[in-house]
């Protein structure tokens, strides 16, 4: 009984601190943790806490929030714990949070943001900066009051922790996934000063440079949307066919290097997305090895054919074939051998069996691989950036619309919306249409037997595809390693350590070690941010997984669907939407480390969720129930029972999010600042300056670092599995989830 009141009292104490002792607004200089604000606290109009803002600085609207908070305290003191009190607290909490969000959106630096409120309520004497420590804390407190109230009403079996966790997660996902997307949509209709101006949207949405079909009609160029679309289709086709060939070779033939093939699946996780493009330039660019050799031997003029859709296509097929391979291994193995044996006993030969039984059973899997390839290609940013030149695709065009000379945020938003429509359609097709068509799962339990051998012609065919492509992949990765050690690519191929020295040199001076290499700054930033975001990602992801698997709450399926949908949001779209959402009050985060961390957490969280869901489903639910009936609350249950049993899934999520934070570029490139520059965006900068040597040296160093990290975790997890804990859920690491995105 007392527990509920004690929780509330803590909550109120924190709320009072937020109102009295924390600066209400964001501290511009030095930030909250710089503590330079202490000098002007509590009187300065920027530094004052909430209560003083309302009394002294003319921010009278804050009285509403303060009053709601006071009413909540009154209710707590005046009435004993009951369902009725719960309803009231939930109502107050909801209203308080809603009001804080509303006032933040409605009142900006210069007063009202919306004309309608200025007309009805009159102009304001003062505006307000972005939310700071006080405002954010009070928002969270209101959320907690809401969830404690709901728990007191008996929501979710009265489990306070679960209600609180769900409320906070929904709040976070709304702020960091949906609010940016909505801001972007609004941004498409706005001018810089925030006024409503549909011209930009109207001009861009019909822009022939986006939608023109000239390449079909006559010899002109097609719009960028169509070019991106065609590219995605042929990339998806290429990677699906190659992926299938690899999967068939790996599972249905006596190929000697099968294990080596499996190693391929790890490549897309550790390869920064633009590295393949870079390696292709070293091979086929104007000064590439192949180009120069051909020109020397046969006098073929070095061309620029690589820079454009052809080059992007080759790079993307190289990048995404391993992903498709990974998806299709499961599909090919999932075809029940007894079906094929049945077909053979029915007098069908191998060709007929393959063509009429095996292949049709794989069709949904193939369609799935195709759609993943499509989404990946659409979302890819690194390769088009390096290889695109003037023939960009949607994702790069969005980037240039913001950073380039155009500087047209409305155009960027429109392009982002177009891109989002493409990927979301593919995602919806994948979920709704393919969701119900999985033949691989219909196999019965006692399914034994041997897979039928491939027909001879197909056997030869897949080998003819796989062996050259595997060699090609090896050569490309060889280039990445070798490229860092050559003086000037193509012109002077002598061995040098110059690039590595430039990137990673260290000087020992009297003052200790000085990191003189140009790469160190971004390298350490990357490591710090990856290190900070990995545990957060894993925590948020696994908590979400726990709630989805173990709790039944209203809107659970919608919640899960929305989370999984964020898979299909291209990084570029996230980047542009974060800029549009977090550049102005109520939340200002651009240029900080926090925005990078938030971006990584909510971009990589779905992978943690997926891994967590899979692992959690292997844990008998009666374990948590036993813990609950043994007087442990949900929090203790998670800490003492679920987490220890989920350790493999946790390490997988940690490693994955760490590695992804290092390799991702598409969203990051919008969010980096001079102070917080990430390795990938720094390398892209090097490429743009033509410093290929240093860029490739830095990339290969990153790859080595990531291989080391993965190997370490493999060892750790492997060791644990030697111990006698048979009932432990054994999620093996790292789990490259099929739907992951490389960009």
């Amino acid at each position: 009984m007392g527990k509920s009141n004690r929780r509330l009292d803590w909550c109120f104490a924190a709320g009072i601190i937020a109102l009295l002792l924390l600066p209400w607004y964001r501290i511009e200089r030095g930030g909250f943790f710089g503590f330079s604000w202490l000098g002007n606290f509590p009187r300065g109009s920027n530094e004052a806490p909430g209560l003083l803002q309302a009394t002294m600085h003319g921010r009278w609207w804050l009285w509403v929030a303060i009053a709601l908070f006071a009413v909540a305290i009154l209710i707590r003191v005046a009435s004993p714990q009951s369902e009725r009190r719960g309803s009231w607290l939930a109502l107050i909490g909801g209203l308080g949070l809603g009001f804080l969000a509303l006032q933040g959106l409605a009142i900006g630096f210069a007063g009202w943001t919306w004309m309608i409120s200025e007309n009805t309520l009159g102009p304001l004497s003062t505006g307000q900066p972005a939310m700071g420590a006080g405002a954010i804390t009070l928002s969270i407190i209101f959320t907690l009051i809401f969830s404690f109230g709901m728990a007191e009403r008996g929501a979710l079996k009265g489990d306070t922790f679960v209600v609180g966790a769900i409320s906070l997660l929904v709040l976070l996902v709304s702020v960091f996934v949906f609010y940016p997307l909505i801001s972007m949509f609004i941004g498409a209709f706005q001018d810089f000063d925030g006024s409503f101006k549909p011209d930009g949207f109207l001009r861009n949405i019909v822009d022939p440079s986006i939608w023109s079909l000239n390449c079909v009609i006559d010899a002109g160029r097609c719009g960028i949307a169509w070019r991106t679309f065609f590219l995605a289709i042929i990339t998806a086709l290429g990677s699906t066919i190659l992926g299938l060939a690899f999967a068939l070779v790996a599972t249905r033939t006596g190929f000697r290097f099968k294990k080596g093939l499996r190693l391929l699946t790890i490549l897309p996780i550790i390869t920064p997305p633009f590295v393949i493009g870079l390696a292709l330039i070293l091979l086929f660019g104007r000064a590439g090895v192949v180009t120069l050799t051909l020109s020397n031997l046969f006098g073929i003029e070095p061309g620029r054919w690589l820079y454009g859709l052809t080059g992007i296509w080759i790079a993307q097929v190289l990048s995404f074939t391993p992903i498709s391979f990974l998806v299709l291994i499961g599909v090919v193995e999932g075809v029940s051998p007894s079906m094929e044996e049945a077909s053979q006993t029915l007098r069908a030969n191998r060709w007929r069996t393959f063509w009429h039984v095996s292949l049709p059973l794989m069709k949904p899997g193939l369609a799935n691989a195709f759609l993943i390839g499509f989404i990946e290609s659409m979302a890819d940013f690194g390769n088009p950036l390096v290889l695109g030149g003037s023939h960009g695709v949607l994702s790069t065009e969005i980037f240039f619309a913001v950073v380039g000379s155009q500087n047209d945020p409305s155009r960027a938003a429109v392009l982002a919306i177009v891109l989002l429509c493409f990927t979301l359609s593919a995602f919806l097709a994948q979920r709704l249409w393919l969701g119900r068509k999985n033949f691989a799962t219909v196999t019965s339990k006692g399914d034994s037997g041997n897979h039928a051998a491939l027909p001879r012609s197909i056997n030869i065919g897949v080998h003819a595809l796989v062996i050259p492509w595997a060699i090609f992949t090896l050569v490309v990765y060889g280039m990445i390693v070798a490229g860092g050690f050559m003086k000037t690519w193509g012109l002077d191929n002598s061995f040098t350590l110059e690039h590595y020295i430039r990137a990673f040199s260290i000087a020992f001076t009297d003052n200790g070690i000085v990191w003189t290499g140009v790469a160190w700054n971004s390298f350490w930033t990357t490591m710090k941010i990856a290190l900070a975001s990995a545990p957060l990602t894993a925590a948020v992801g696994l908590l979400t997984a726990y709630l989805i698997v173990r709790q039944r709450f209203a809107g659970r399926e919608l919640f899960e669907f929305a989370l999984m949908m964020s898979f299909a949001i291209p990084g570029t779209v996230i980047g542009i939407s974060y800029i549009m959402a977090f550049n102005l009050p109520p939340l200002e985060m651009t240029g900080t480390a926090a925005i990078l961390i938030a971006c990584f957490v909510f971009r990589n969280m779905p992978v943690g969720v997926r891994g967590g869901v899979a692992a959690m489903k292997q844990l008998d639910q009666s374990l948590d129930e036993a813990s609950l009936t043994l007087r442990a609350n949900s929090f203790r249950t998670i800490r003492k029972v679920i987490l220890p049993l989920l350790r493999p899934a946790i390490t997988a999520a940690l490693v994955y999010s760490f590695v992804r934070a290092i390799t991702s570029i598409s969203a990051v490139i919008f969010l980096v600042s001079a102070e917080y520059n990430m390795a990938t965006s720094y390398i892209v900068g090097l490429v743009e300056n033509g410093e290929y040597g240093v860029a490739i040296a830095y990339s290969s160093a990153l790859i080595v670092v990531m291989i080391l990290i993965i190997a370490c975790f493999q060892l750790l997890v492997g060791e644990r599995r030697l111990r006698r804990r048979p009932e432990q859920a054994g999620a093996v690491l790292p789990v490259p989830v099929p739907e992951e995105k490389a960009a």
């Binding site: 079996k157 008998d620 129930e625 609950l628 009936t629 009932e727």
Partner: protein
């Protein structure tokens, strides 16, 4: 056991989506008794138990434990504990850690928790095995750890969800005796869920038989077995032949019934009017004699020798009867015409 509590359900309903698992359930369990919820799978017995534990909350109605309304209380704040069908022992903790877990959750100091856990293990005869992981214990030992883990919390009510279903037949008999002994020695209230009627008959003070989310019949084991209220209960509590008969008259508390030309006396129960009724007859209450002509007769269609008894199927005018005959020395082959008579026990009029 410091306290032992009663359990009351008042008009409890539980709905999952469009499926009503429990319809308007009201029941009372006296303190210090062992009550079994018995029924086929899907009858709502486990849902009832889980509502008592707080793992499900009722859609409407009230639940009281020890006189206190706990309807909205979460599982971890209720004074009950549960033994799970799968035992649900935490695989990463030793037996002693498992037993101490609930004590530590209740806020006991670690040292006290360890001491009480040892005591608990001793209570179930596992002293000295506290350092083992669950995977290093046999099925029966795991089960006892689960019981100890629940008992050390000294709950007002102990809940047992099919606690024997993962044990082999021999062990099952021993463990159920142990559980019953423990319950009678310590005097706690226990609610026991099972689908096995032998188990229910063996351990219970009272049995509540459930069907389709409702109570079908409630009573002492003997009452249920000997005076089933319906053909469902008659068939569920051990096998029974249900056949139509005519009530022709009453004599004190006895009713005269007629089957073909055979008349027989059975306890009257609540039958007041002569006329058509139903009769539930246990397979071992039927006596077969080879005879060409009989007041009520039939023909053996199958017979099977099972060591200590013979099983017959007999085709009669009242339908096919299943008969168990201990007279193995005289086995009647198929096609033998037989006269059918009834013993005085194991036969009852049923009203529905």
């Amino acid at each position: 056991m410091s306290s032992t509590g009663s359990v009351v359900f008042q008009n409890v309903r539980k709905v999952f989506g469009s499926f009503t698992a429990i319809h308007d359930l009201s029941l009372t369990i006296e303190p210090g008794t062992l009550v079994t919820l018995l029924g086929p799978s899907g009858c709502g017995k486990t849902t009832t138990l889980r509502m008592l534990a707080g793992l499900e909350h009722p859609t409407s109605g009230r639940i009281l434990i020890g006189g206190k309304d706990v309807t909205k209380l979460p599982a971890n704040e209720r004074d009950v504990s549960m033994v799970f069908q799968s035992y649900a022992l935490f695989p990463h903790m030793t037996a002693a850690q498992n037993v101490a877990y609930g004590l530590a959750s209740s806020g006991l100091k670690p040292k006290e928790a360890v001491e009480k856990a040892e005591e608990g293990l001793r209570l179930v005869g596992l002293a000295g095995l506290g350092d083992r992981l669950p995977s290093e214990l046999s099925g029966g030992q795991q089960q006892r750890v689960a019981v100890a883990r629940a008992l050390v919390l000294e709950p007002q009510v102990l809940l047992l969800d099919e606690p024997l279903s993962n044990l082999d037949a021999r062990l099952r008999r021993r463990v159920r005796t142990e559980i019953r002994d423990l319950q009678q020695r310590l005097g706690f209230t226990a609610v026991y869920v099972t689908h096995d009627q032998d188990e229910a008959l063996a351990v219970s003070d009272r049995i509540i038989v459930m069907k389709d989310g409702r109570i079908a019949q409630e009573g002492a084991p003997r009452e249920l077995y000997e005076a089933p209220a319906s053909s469902f209960i008659a068939d569920f509590m051990g096998e029974a032949n249900v056949m139509p008969c005519d009530v022709v008259g009453f004599e004190d508390d006895q009713a005269m019934i007629r089957l073909g030309a055979l008349t027989h006396r059975v306890p009257r129960r609540n039958v007041s009017q002569p006329g058509a009724a139903k009769l539930a007859v246990r397979p071992n209450a039927i006596v077969l004699e080879p005879a060409d002509k009989a007041p009520f007769g039939g023909v053996v269609t199958h017979s099977a020798y099972l060591g200590d008894h013979v099983e017959y199927e007999v085709e009669t005018d009242a339908g096919r009867l299943f008969v168990i005959d201990p007279a193995v020395e005289r086995m009647l082959p198929a096609t033998t015409p037989v006269a059918i008579a009834f013993r005085n026990r194991g036969i009852a009029i049923i009203t529905s």
